[in-house]
Symmetry: C2
Subunit: 327 residues, 2 copies
């Protein structure tokens, strides 16, 4: 069977792959997402970014010998309209209401083109070929610069009213807690996102050992590394994140009766420093028998989960591209 | 088309009805649930309770002229195994692992017999013929002595791994909040259930005007009545419940992307005293566009919602009796 051209569009990089029906990533390439503020961006606009993406995809397919394709699957940062996929990724200011699905359909005529939120694609990948495989009720989470997710229930991806189901990052874990970028307060993301933890740790006196690094993910990685070395404030930051995630998963499984919660993203690499307090908070709040049965596990697919999930939107449409809205 | 024999089994009453395919309750009867502690209970055991139920159903069907039945649908207090429905209702100590589905199948041979949690049946009723009709993504809630619910997503009832999806009462709204009967802490139910509100109001100095009444629902009703009369502590109790419900719905819609949340049960009759602070807390925590779109409405069917939903398990099995587990 022909491969799917899978695409992962984020604020840091544009990645693409040919994914085989079994889920194997056969060919892979990526470029840094052009930054309109960078000196070499040349006044990057929506069309310039599209040309960069189009060139990446064209080269990937040509280098692979121009195989026939089964379709195009894309994970892209939100928000977007769904399933029409006019995209306005928070981290990609050049695209606002950019008609990504229409463009790809024109570029790849006759092929199914299916686009979903990037965190949903990660969750789908983990359900299809990763840590949730073989289970019907799975929450996939990405804990990184933000906190995203996707929800598979009864063996099928849950889209909700507008394709926005799975926003575990905005489950409320502390009603009087810190303000969230969404406008709310005390969301899981407000507490547990990498930059939020870094800010909290700085308030407590933690300092980055390598101030030359960029803010954001890198500082978060350094915080996790300091926690592994036993730094008390860094360790406390991981506990803070773990507890918040544990509370959110308790709420989610009471509502959705999950088999598995799979946690990926940079922060999940803190290992037991994150997972031990997470489990403890979960056990405190999830006491009924059905809720205690959930298995909380690290995601299995790593960086390619989103590409594998994007391919599954095409390969396994009966599970991941369903409902009235999907067209 | 033949009617469904619909049954609603709770700690206070056993109710039964013949429900027509359009959802109309054609014939209705009920008896008080025998209380094993009462002097006239005569050492009530599991079989005694079964005989009471069987007599209620037999008389209802006979009095209606013994029509042909399309099936038997039952809502019963949890917990239970599902879909096998060996039931152990918290409020009915006489039944522990009672094989309700097997008994009803033996009593009504050849008919489909479908049993689900009573709060799930209320949610199904509200989706099928009530406040959620015509919407694909609906949370139905019952706020009363406890807080229960059921979840319809993508037009189909969500069962989860073990038939326990929909437990909105155990979404965490205040991680350091009061202990919950489930063993957890800060669950919506721990804050907003009628007896919890009554206990809180008493701590604040509220006294029941009619001390001859029973504890529980009646005290909750009196608390709501006092709130309507402007009693400051009673009003504060309604605000406390409303805020907790608003936070829980915000979390639920971020996770599930709902169209409608329908709220029934005794407490919902407090009207704007409950719904105004509920909306305010919801607006504080649900700021993203998709989340703000949810409509929060009172349930429409009242006391018969559970019977109508139990009938829908038979009449509309493609939506409400689905998945691998349902047999």
């Amino acid at each position: 069977m022909d491969p799917v051209l899978a695409v992962d569009i984020g604020g840091t990089k544009l990645a693409a792959a040919l994914v085989e029906p079994g889920g194997r990533v056969a060919v892979y390439d990526r470029v840094a997402t052009p930054n309109p503020a960078a000196p070499d961006a040349g006044g990057l606009d929506a069309e310039g970014l599209w040309r960069t993406l189009d060139a990446l995809l064209g080269k990937l397919v040509t280098d692979a010998g121009s195989p026939r394709l089964a379709g195009v699957g894309v994970g892209c940062g939100g928000p977007m309209t769904w399933p029409a996929a006019e995209v306005s990724p928070l981290n990609i200011p050049a695209w606002r209401n950019f008609p990504l699905r229409a463009r790809l359909r024109a570029r790849y005529p006759g092929l199914p083109v299916r686009i979903h939120n990037d965190a949903i694609c990660v969750a789908v990948g983990e359900h299809w070929r990763g840590a949730g495989r073989g289970h019907d009720n799975v929450l996939g989470m990405v804990v990184s610069t933000g906190v995203g997710g996707g929800l598979v229930l009864g063996g099928r991806l849950i889209n909700g009213a507008s394709g926005n189901a799975g926003h575990i990052g905005h489950v409320v874990v502390d009603p009087g807690g810190p303000p969230c970028a969404c406008g709310g307060r005390g969301c899981l993301e407000a507490v547990a996102r990498g930059p939020g933890l870094v800010a909290w740790a700085r308030e407590q006196g933690w300092r980055q050992g390598n101030p030359g690094r960029l803010e954001g993910t890198a500082a978060g990685a350094e915080l996790a590394a300091d926690a592994r070395r036993g730094h008390p404030v860094a360790s406390a930051a991981m506990r803070r994140a773990g507890r918040a995630i544990g509370i959110a998963i308790a709420s989610a499984t009471h509502l959705c009766d999950l088999d598995v919660a799979a946690i990926g993203g940079g922060l999940s690499q803190a290992g037991s420093l994150l997972f031990d307090p997470l489990e403890e908070a979960f056990r405190t709040h999830a006491r009924m028998e059905f809720a205690r049965r959930v298995r909380i596990v690290p995601a299995a697919l790593g960086q390619t989960a989103g590409l594998v999930g994007a391919a599954a939107l095409v390969f396994a449409q009966d599970r991941y591209w369903t409902g009235r809205a999907a067209g």
